[in-house]
């Protein structure tokens, strides 16, 4: 068993608000530079950059998990993370089906492009990725778990799109694999005092939109390896795996 450092919420150039520098090479280099062992690629309502970054990192000492930061119909942001490319593919169909048909205006919101590891544009997403999907948080949670993925409400205390702000309180009927905190005005005391009553793992992620934000917040995990199944155990605190610490750099 070993301790690994994970930042499971990173945007790329595909997110309209993601910086132009958030390319496969830059993200992987920055993650390695920050000593991360594991990252998750989570663009708004899209998984289309995941495979390129995962393939680019294949020869390096970094595990890349595929996912998305889903915006539900209640405008709650939730991370959905997956362990296989089949699951990612099915989830991408789900996202495409439920994304609103509103065109992105790059001049206002930013470009939404998929770039390869040589920084060539492979694809341009025409529909706006930042809007809420046509599906509720209940449906998203249920579908993510149907695909055996991880469902993690993002930046739960944030005023913009945090679950508690949007819905007043943490809905008790949903199955959360963890709850996420991102950089903000959190002191250790704040985190301790505001830990939700329910017993979920709390994790730190950077929610990086710019290169220098990668790894700013991260989570230490005690696991056998960086396999997805190990991450699942660690978030559940089972099989001897666990979340061992929250790190702020």
């Amino acid at each position: 068993m070993k301790e690994f450092l994970a930042d499971l919420h990173i945007h790329t150039v595909l997110s309209p608000c993601g910086d132009f520098e958030m390319t496969p090479r830059n993200i992987v280099d920055a993650a390695l530079g920050k000593g991360l062992n594991m990252i998750a690629i989570t663009d708004h309502n899209s998984t289309r950059m995941c495979r390129i970054i995962s393939e680019y990192a294949a020869t390096k000492d970094l595990t890349v998990i595929a996912g998305a930061e889903v915006n539900t119909s209640e405008e709650v942001h939730c991370l959905a993370l997956f362990g296989t490319w089949e699951q990612v593919e099915v989830f991408q169909f789900f996202l495409d089906e439920h994304l609103l048909d509103i065109q992105n205006k790059p001049s206002i919101f930013g470009d939404q492009v998929v770039v390869d590891s040589d920084e060539n544009i492979q694809y341009t997403e025409k529909r706006s990725l930042i809007t809420g999907l046509k599906v509720s948080i209940d449906e998203v949670e249920s579908f993510v778990h149907h695909l055996d993925g991880l469902f993690i409400p993002a930046h739960i205390y944030r005023r913009q799109n945090g679950i508690i702000h949007q819905l007043g309180m943490l809905p008790k009927n949903l199955n959360y694999d963890a709850l996420e905190l991102t950089p903000g005005s959190y002191s250790d005391e704040y985190v301790r005092n505001n830990k939700p009553e329910v017993n979920h793992s709390l994790i730190f992620n950077s929610d990086a939109h710019f290169i220098d934000q990668i790894g700013k917040f991260s989570t230490r995990l005690m696991m056998e390896s960086t396999e997805f199944s190990e991450l699942k155990f660690a978030l559940k605190n089972s099989e001897g795996r666990s979340v061992t610490g929250l790190q702020r750099n």
């Binding site: 819905l167 007043g168 309180m169």
Partner: protein, 111 residues
């Protein structure tokens, strides 16, 4: 104004319950951010929103609102409806948007 009169005048849909309680609507609050509603809506007010999540019923109960009014033809989620029925919170609906219906209700209550 009585809730039942408001329903009649504005032709509101009643999702729950079948028998509307004989209560007075003292005001209204229009907002979709549930954390804000929790801090701001008052007892006896009608809460106008597009959110159909079950937490709407929970907050409506907590704050003892007169009714929840869903706008733009939105229907309550089943879980919201079940909870509202159990707690006897009237859930209403309209096809109008928040601006139009809030204006009409404001006019009716304050005239």
């Amino acid at each position: 104004m009585k809730l039942i009169e408001l329903i009649k005048i504005l032709s509101l849909t009643v999702y729950s319950p079948n028998a509307v309680p004989d209560i007075e609507v003292t005001g209204g609050y229009t907002c979709d951010l549930l954390s804000d509603v929790m801090g701001s809506v008052n007892e006896g007010q009608i809460w106008i929103t597009l959110q159909t999540h079950r937490n709407v019923a929970a907050i409506a109960t907590l704050k003892d609102v007169a009714a929840v009014l869903l706008i733009k033809g939105l229907k309550p989620d089943q879980e919201m409806l079940d909870k509202a029925l159990a707690e006897e919170i009237p859930i209403l609906g309209t096809n109008e948007n928040a601006f139009e219906i809030s204006g009409k209700i404001y006019h009716l209550i304050t005239q």
